[in-house]
């Protein structure tokens, strides 16, 4: 399979993740969509790196994976804190900053 097939696969997964981020009302659901999008980016990085014959893209995807895991930990900590304070999960109800 050529590079094109991998790029299109990762574009499809990215857009599915974007769809989840736009349509989910639950904060945890939005985080799951973001995970899918970051995952698609990793496929892209590794495919380009493999077809270019260099490992730099793979090193970058190691960094991306670590940053994504930190993001998930912080994001879910914020979600737990929001539950504690506002007693709700829905992003629509989190409108404290709305004038």
């Amino acid at each position: 399979m050529g590079l094109q097939a991998y790029l299109i696969l990762s574009a499809v997964v990215f857009c599915i993740g974007l769809f989840g981020v736009v349509t989910r009302r639950n904060t945890v659901g939005i985080l799951l969509g973001i995970e899918l999008m970051l995952n698609a980016v990793n496929i892209n990085l590794i495919a380009f790196s493999r077809f270019a014959g260099s490992t730099v893209g793979m090193v970058f995807s190691v960094f991306t994976i670590c940053i994504t895991v930190s993001e998930a930990a912080i994001g879910l900590a914020i979600v737990i804190l929001l539950f504690r304070v506002r007693k709700t999960v829905m992003a629509d109800h989190l409108d404290l900053l709305k004038g």
């Binding site: 990215f14 969509g33 995952n39 190691v62 912080i74």
Partner: protein, 163 residues
């Protein structure tokens, strides 16, 4: 010969489970489908000769992130005292936005002549990654350590018991 079959199988698994993640009504099922999608991605990494990254993907994502999300769901369900049902809104807007983005990306990919042959591997990929992380990319690697420490402290601070 076996590569296209493996690619298409993994692509169907990945796209199908990704769709289930964003469309499933039950949040817990969505997380389990995400685990499936992340495992499929690890398979794609194996197809791209990145064995180390496939292992990292399974350990950190399918192991770590899924555990954290399940934990968060369990904790918050106990706090709220009701089931976290999933409803979606603005479905039409989501289809339009993501469909338009997909159309642009696929057009951009199709407009460029891209290589279809991979260069031969010059050595052990895992070894090459390890060497470049500790030589050329040692500063980003150290910064990553600082970031992870900050994330750990921040998560602990957020989740501290109220007193």
């Amino acid at each position: 010969m076996g590569e296209p079959i493996a690619f298409w199988t993994l692509a169907i698994i990945l796209v199908g489970s990704a769709l289930s993640v964003v469309l499933s009504k039950n949040l817990f099922h969505a997380v389990l489908w995400l685990a499936f999608a992340l495992t499929g991605t690890a398979g794609i990494f194996l197809l791209l000769d990145a064995e180390f990254l496939a292992a990292v993907q399974l350990l950190l994502y399918a192991g770590g992130v899924i555990t954290i999300v399940v934990f968060a769901i369990v904790v918050t369900e106990r706090l709220v005292g009701e089931r976290l049902s999933q409803t979606s809104r603005h479905v039409a807007a989501g289809v339009v936005v993501s469909g338009a983005l997909l159309w642009f990306i696929v057009r951009a990919i199709g407009a460029r002549p891209l290589t279809t042959t991979r260069p031969a591997l010059t050595g052990d990929v895992t070894r090459l990654i390890g060497e470049s992380v500790l030589t050329k990319f040692v500063l980003p690697f150290e910064l990553l350590g600082v970031l992870m420490l900050a994330a750990m402290l921040g998560a602990t601070y957020f989740a501290r018991p109220e007193d």
